[in-house]
């Protein structure tokens, strides 16, 4: 295998970081992964109380009839991502992109197969930690702490975060509760908080689709920066343009199956042909 590794031809820039031997360093190995959701309460309205009892009494065999549905969201997906890569994930709605991303982050269990990672991949997003009744300022601290930054780190980056979000461009909004922000403003603040931390493996779920054109441009720049510092970036997006701008490799998921894995241009061409049908 080492011989093959040496024969690797450098093709596109930026080239993934490699060991002295020339072997690229893998950061995420996804090995034959299946992900299955169990959903409670999908039974029809009539008789669902008895169905629930049935489910408790008989467990397994009654699962289907009593309204527990198994949703096979990701089917036997394998790939390896390397240090320095930016990998786009595309596919129509409900094709399993976000699910796969969550599993890579270790936030969802896999039914079969294994996901091995270098360090702890993090999802870019702190929405859930923020509270709309608190001021933007307190949310910067709360979000930073939730991501595992120290108070000193947050203090140091506080100005950058606020400046980047552009919240204060139109007056002193950072000291107002977040519930008074427009949806675009809060999306910008959320992205700014989330992007303040450096990650080994960064997983981004449609974060670029928020804010106005100017902010989108800025966030794409920030993602490129993060990518330089981070080992590997995964980006889920429905915007082919932002995938093209940030990623050089694309995974295409369709109905939970990995349909294509290759250079951005090639995969996007096929994907565009597919979605036009």
């Amino acid at each position: 295998m080492a011989e093959q590794t040496l024969a690797r031809t450098p093709e596109q820039t930026p080239a993934p970081a490699a060991t002295p031997a020339g072997e690229p360093i893998p950061t995420v190995v996804v090995d034959g992964v299946d992900i299955v959701y169990k959903v409670n309460g999908t039974g029809s309205g009539r008789g669902s109380a008895t169905a629930a009892l049935n489910r408790i009494m008989r467990r397994k065999e009654a699962e289907k009839s009593s309204g527990v549905r198994r949703v096979h969201a990701v089917k036997n997906v394998s790939f390896v991502a390397y240090k320095g890569e930016a990998v786009g994930l595309i596919g129509t709605n409900g094709s399993g992109k976000s699910t796969l991303l969550k599993a890579v982050a270790g936030l969802l269990p896999v039914e079969n197969g294994r996901i091995l990672t270098d360090g702890q991949p993090s999802l870019l997003g702190v929405n859930a930690a923020l509270m709309s009744d608190l001021t933007g300022e307190r949310n910067v601290y709360l979000g930073g702490l939730a991501m595992g930054m120290s108070r000193a780190e947050i203090k140091e980056r506080y100005e950058d975060i606020v400046d980047f979000s552009g919240i204060n461009d139109k007056g002193d909004f950072i000291t107002l509760p977040m519930r008074t922000y427009s949806s675009g403003m809060s999306a910008r603040l959320r992205f700014s908080i989330a992007a303040a931390k450096n990650h080994d493996v960064l997983l981004i779920d449609e974060a670029l689709a928020t804010g106005d054109a100017r902010f989108q441009k800025r966030s794409e720049e920030r993602i490129r920066e993060l990518r330089k510092e981070a080992g590997t970036v995964f980006l889920v997006s429905h915007s082919n343009a932002s995938i093209r701008d940030t990623c050089e490799r694309v995974l295409w998921l369709e109905r939970g199956e990995l349909r294509m894995d290759g250079p951005t241009d090639e995969v996007l061409r096929q994907y565009e042909k597919f979605t036009r049908r």
Binding site: T5, R70, H72, G106, L107, A128, M131, L142, M260, P263
Partner: protein, 334 residues
């Protein structure tokens, strides 16, 4: 054309899917697509991937850390725990006109309701000296335990978004909710001191004992909250059941009446009365009364009361923590 990370001689495992034609299924088929395909036997690719991962020291994503490592991670997140608790507490009344005044008003109003029902209408005040301080201390202490437990049952299930988005030791959530309730209790204690002074309870050095009592009660509450958080995460139905269990527990804990004064002359066996007074619901309340109210003497307390109080705190506190940690990797899943 290949992606940059790939080696030429190595057939990328994922390319095998491209050869599979995508069926255009009819609408009726859509849910049937969700069936599990037969698991393939491990191919050369699988072995290859495992070897590759092993060579570079990759680890399983989202595995449960060891207990010491877990404690270390939790300690590293201590600022998040306190910030989250304070934020929750502040957000609670941020829309109200009176704002944070409600922190003190809410417990006072609670005490007023219980005084009206149990003190005036039913008359459990007979045989209890300083009934109002007795009642209010009981209500405040009980509220701490009750609200911690209720918050605990929803600590994981009610914050599923947070759990599914960020990595942190999940024990931070129940601990944070407990801390929020403790902060709430400290506000109530300000009101309590006012009530004590109004009803002529003298300031005494024994008030200092309130600190160890609160610490021990917090230890116990954190433990119960963690147990409830794990149960509530697996079975959200628990949250529906808890109000009934808690109400039963409250009435047997002597929150609004004195177990000692009421049952002393009943025909209940002695051991049953001692058991009622030693259960954690009652023990911390009575200790706090002993600390704060001068007419509540040591003979109102069960034997070895400090040992009992410390025992509950240590056993339940540590036991609950370990119980919660055992299921760490399962929270927010499925």
């Amino acid at each position: 054309m290949r992606s940059p990370g790939r080696r030429p001689g190595d057939r990328p495992p994922s390319f095998r899917h491209i050869t599979t034609p995508l069926h255009r299924t009819k609408a009726a088929d859509v849910s049937q697509v969700l069936h599990t395909p037969p698991r393939q036997a491990p191919t050369a690719d699988d072995l290859d991937l495992a070897a590759l991962a092993a060579r570079h020291g990759l680890t399983v994503s989202g595995a449960r850390p060891s207990l010491p490592e877990y404690v270390r991670q939790l300690w590293a997140r201590r600022h998040f725990i306190t910030a989250f608790a304070t934020a929750k507490l502040t957000a609670q009344y941020s829309q109200a006109k009176l704002g944070q005044v409600w922190q003190v008003m809410t417990p006072l109003l609670n005490a007023a309701v219980y005084f009206f029902i149990f003190g005036v209408l039913i008359g459990t005040r007979d045989g209890v000296d300083d009934f109002v301080p007795f009642l209010v201390t009981g209500v405040f202490m009980w509220t701490f335990t009750q609200n911690s437990i209720m918050a605990g049952t929803r600590a994981v299930s009610g914050n599923i978004g947070l759990v599914r988005a960020l990595h942190f030791p999940r024990a931070a959530l129940p601990i944070s909710f407990c801390l929020q309730q403790l902060q709430q209790l400290l506000f109530s204690m300000i009101a309590l001191i006012g009530i004590l002074l109004c009803f002529g309870v003298p300031v005494a050095t024994s008030w200092v004992l309130a600190v160890p009592v609160l610490l021990l009660q917090s230890g116990f509450n954190v433990g119960v909250t963690m147990v409830m958080a794990r149960l509530g995460a697996n079975t959200p139905d628990i949250a529906q059941l808890m109000p009934f269990i808690l109400r039963t527990w409250m009435y047997t804990s002597g929150v609004m009446w004195s177990i000692d004064a009421t049952l002393r002359n009943s025909n209940m066996p002695e051991w049953a009365i001692t058991a009622m007074r030693c259960q954690p619901g009652a023990v911390y309340i009575d200790l706090m009364r002993f600390a704060l109210i001068d007419s509540f003497h040591a003979d109102h307390l069960p034997p070895h009361v400090w040992a009992v109080a410390a025992g509950w705190a240590v056993v339940v506190g540590i036991g609950g923590f370990i119980y919660f940690w055992k299921a760490e990797e399962t929270y927010g899943r499925g």
